[in-house]
């Protein structure tokens, strides 16, 4: 998780959470090499997005393999490969 280069973090607010959550979140943030604040901001920003770049990267790799197999063994089904590519494009567009 990266901070926007020119992002101003001027507002300081307190939030209420259990000790358990606090410790868990802090531990995750530490493992990810970020701060608790940055971790919570990132979770909030992407709360409605079930996709993340890591998932899409793996999906794209699977799609690439499928498209390669179609090209190699079933070139007559080129439209299936095009459809697959188009579906992946839609997913990438939904990321942001």
């Amino acid at each position: 998780m990266m901070k926007k280069k020119f992002e101003k973090l001027e507002s300081i607010r307190s939030i209420r959470l259990s000790d358990e959550d606090y410790n868990n979140f802090k531990e995750i943030a530490k493992k990810e090499g970020t701060t608790l604040s940055a971790f919570l901001r990132d979770c909030a920003r992407h709360r409605n997005n079930k996709l993340d770049p890591c998932l899409l990267v793996h999906m794209q790799n699977v799609a690439n393999i499928a498209m390669e197999l179609i090209q190699r063994y079933e070139p007559q089904n080129a439209k299936t490969a095009e459809k697959l590519e188009s579906e992946m494009k839609e997913l990438w567009n939904k990321l942001n």
């Binding site: 280069k5 790799n61 942001n96």
Partner: protein, 150 residues
Amino acid sequence: MEQIELKVFLFGEKFDVHDVDNVPMVSDREVSVGCYGVSYHNIDEFYHQMKCVQQYFETNTNQEVIHLIVEYGDLVKDDKTACTCSESCAEYFIKDYQVYYCTHQSMGSDKYHTHLLVNPVSYNDGKVLSTNVEACENFRKYLQRVIGIS
């Protein structure tokens, strides 16, 4: 001791993805193409996919794409070895970064080289790939190790 030549190009806002194959020579023979985490069927698409990751992490980097060229000199003599070496090059980055790579044989020569286009923003956590001298030297040492130079 044989040395691998490593060239690094950093592209900013004016990066034109269609110029990739024109670097360094348009007439080079393409030996292989590969990718990780991006589409290689559509060059515009792979660039867009790298931008999507950068936007997701709201990372403002100076480089949109990092372009590395690995020149093998006399170390690589055939297509198959060149292809294997290009995969080894890409392996260095794929745990964290999207990579598009292609291997060429220079026109009028038996020398091979690999272009690597790397998204400087990690798809795992948004961390930016370092391109300082130390990072390049680490990559070069990795190549020397995996390609099997004594």
